[in-house]
Symmetry: C2
């Protein structure tokens, strides 16, 4: 144990590799990076939509759907339910796959579902400042955390209105850049 060291990585191409990787300056450990999977859901209850106000960065104080990184040995469906429990103490009945988005800038694939509440009880989890059900017209559009939250709310509205069927991809001509 040499706990005086701090993490220190540099970009180099390991022997036998074709891509450059982050390699540890201390021990040559190669930190392979893979695209990450975000799972989440648009949760409806009596026509209203459940949103969480973020207690953590990035975009602390802004509103988002319950969503987060998929864990190891977990299906996207299990992950979407877990995130809603962690962030909103909400017990979900998960519905159809609503969208598969790509945020290329972040190497992130988002797998998002429709859902309803199994029980009307919910409250802010550790990562949320508050959790609230919104009528469509009352959604705090100017304080939405991420572009993909705008996308998924609009896509869910289209399905709810019978205008389109999912699952959706990224809206044409839009980027997820903030």
């Amino acid at each position: 144990m040499t706990k005086d060291l701090k993490p220190s990585f540099n970009n180099k191409t390991p022997a036998g590799d074709t891509h450059s990787r982050n390699v540890c300056d201390h021990c040559d450990f190669v930190h392979y990076e893979n695209p990450k999977i975000v799972v989440g859901s648009v949760v409806r209850h009596e026509g209203k939509i459940l949103l969480c106000r973020r207690a953590i960065e990035p975009r602390k104080g802004y509103w988002t759907i319950p969503a987060g990184y998929l864990e190891l040995n977990e299906s996207p469906q299990q992950g979407a339910k877990r995130e809603a429990m962690e962030e909103a103490n909400a017990d979900l009945n998960l519905g159809d796959l609503l969208a598969v988005y790509t945020v290329e800038r972040l190497s992130q694939v988002q797998i998002l579902y429709r859902a309803t509440l199994n029980s009307p009880d919910f409250s802010a989890g550790e990562e949320s400042l508050e959790v609230q059900l919104f009528e469509w017209k009352d959604i705090p559009w100017d304080d939405i955390a991420f572009p993909t939250v705008h996308w998924i709310l609009e896509h869910d509205r289209q399905v709810e209105a019978g205008e389109a069927k999912g699952p959706f991809e990224n809206p044409v001509g839009q980027t997820a850049d903030l």
Copy 2:
């Protein structure tokens, strides 16, 4: 630089985290492991299905659809097209999302599409021993590489026959264990 050190990780729960992670004994770097994304497609041409015989382990010599790991900064659609080019020198016209499967044992999420050939030309890429178009009845069922390949071929058949609409999840009651 203290290059006499060797990589050394232990499983512990970082402060503020909910899961145990691999933490470096030297510098407390947290090595988050994430689920991996496999992308691929069922490729049809004049009613036949394109399969590749694997030139690499695992399951070398067995037949599979063109598929592989999603790269950084790549959409699943781009990845599915790239894999078909790498493994079968096949130029795809990508269609609908066909399935999102989870192989929990491998922490793998598979995002699979329907596709057709833009041109009838194809040939074995470096990771394939051979590439062939099969009539449904001639598919080498006993020499299929992975359970998920069985799943996706059957799901594609259902869509082709108009019996069901995708996207599909894991078939109920089946595991992807070999």
